[in-house]
Subunit: 140 residues, 2 copies
DNA sequence: CTGCTTGCAAAAACTTTGCATTAAG
DNA sequence: CTTAATGCAAAGTTTTTGCAAGCAG
C-alpha cells in the first residue's frame, strides 16, 4: 500500500486497512468501525470517516450511495464496474460494460467536458414475486 | 394532477405542488420548505419530507443524490434524462442518450432482471482551470 | 364519522469540526 | 523536534417517528 503520497502510515491506519480488506462487498463506515473495534477498541469514529475519505480521494476506495442510507464503500478494483440492485431483496450485483463506458465519455465530450468519473446504479426486479409496496420508485 | 391514486388532495398538498412547480432544476427539501413558508407559514418540515417522498414514489418526482449532501428532486419529465456535474463549479447539466438506455436494459436483462429504473451521474471538468483539491474523487 | 394528513417536538441517523494529546518521520 | 494524525465530545445536517389534533371523503 503506497500511502507515501505525503501521508503517514500509522498503526491506526494499518489496522483500518486490515479491517477493510476483511469486509465483503459494499460496507459502510459503521461496518468498518464495528469490525475495527475488535482489534483496536480505542478507535474513534471520526478517524474512520477521515481515513476512509482519504483513501477514497486517493482512489483506493470507491464510494456509492446505493439504497439511500449511509454512504457505502468498496475496494477500488482495477476494473471499474457498476451496480444493479434488486428492488425486493436489496441484493447488489456488479457488472461492467465497456460500451456504456465509451458512450458516457462521448456524451461528456460532446458537452465540452472531460469525464473524470461516473456513477451508475440500476434498479430492477428479481424475476420472482411482485413488489410489495410501490417500489422504491427511484428515478433520475 | 391525478393524486387520486387513493391519496387525499389536501390544501397543504396543493400548496406544496405549487411551490415545487415554481422551483427550478434540482431542489432540496429545504428549498421547498423555504419557498412554501411564504404561502403556508405553518407548514412542517416533516410534511414536506413525507409528501415529496410520496410524489417520488408515484413517479411524479425523481430523486438524485448529486453532490453528496441532501437528496435533490426535480419534476419527472416525460423524457428521462441523466446528469453531468462539473467537479469545479458544481453546475449540473442534463442530457439523454437512448443508446445508453437501451444498453442498460440489455445488461439488466442478461442478469435476469427487469429494469425498473436507474440513476446515472457523470462527473467531469469544465475545460478551464485545474481542480484545486484532489478532485471530488467519486468512483463507483 | 373514519382514518389519512398534518404540525410539532423529539429522536435517530449520518457526518463534520475543534482541540488537546500522541506519535510518525 | 515538527506537524500530521488520533480520540473524544460537541455540534451540524439530513431524515424519520410518535402523537394528538385536523380535515377530506
Amino acid at each position: 500500500m503506497l500511502k507515501k503520497e505525503g501521508f503517514r502510515l500509522t498503526g491506526t491506519r494499518r489496522s483500518l486497512v486490515k479491517a477493510i480488506l476483511s469486509l465483503e462487498g459494499h460496507w459502510t463506515i459503521q461496518d468498518t468501525a464495528t469490525k475495527l473495534k475488535k482489534d483496536l477498541p480505542s478507535i474513534g469514529i471520526a478517524t474512520v470517516y477521515r481515513t476512509v475519505q482519504l483513501l477514497a480521494r486517493l482512489g483506493l476506495l470507491s464510494e456509492s450511495r446505493i439504497g439511500g442510507g449511509a454512504a457505502r464503500y468498496e475496494v477500488a478494483d482495477a476494473h471499474h464496474h457498476d451496480h444493479l440492485t434488486c428492488n425486493q431483496c436489496g441484493q447488489i450485483f456488479e457488472f461492467e460494460n465497456d460500451q456504456i463506458e465509451r458512450l458516457q465519455s462521448l456524451v461528456a465530450k460532446q458537452l465540452g467536458f472531460k469525464l473524470a468519473d461516473h456513477r451508475m446504479e440500476l434498479y430492477g426486479d428479481c424475476t420472482r414475486k411482485k413488489c410489495p409496496n410501490l417500489g422504491r420508485g427511484r428515478k433520475s
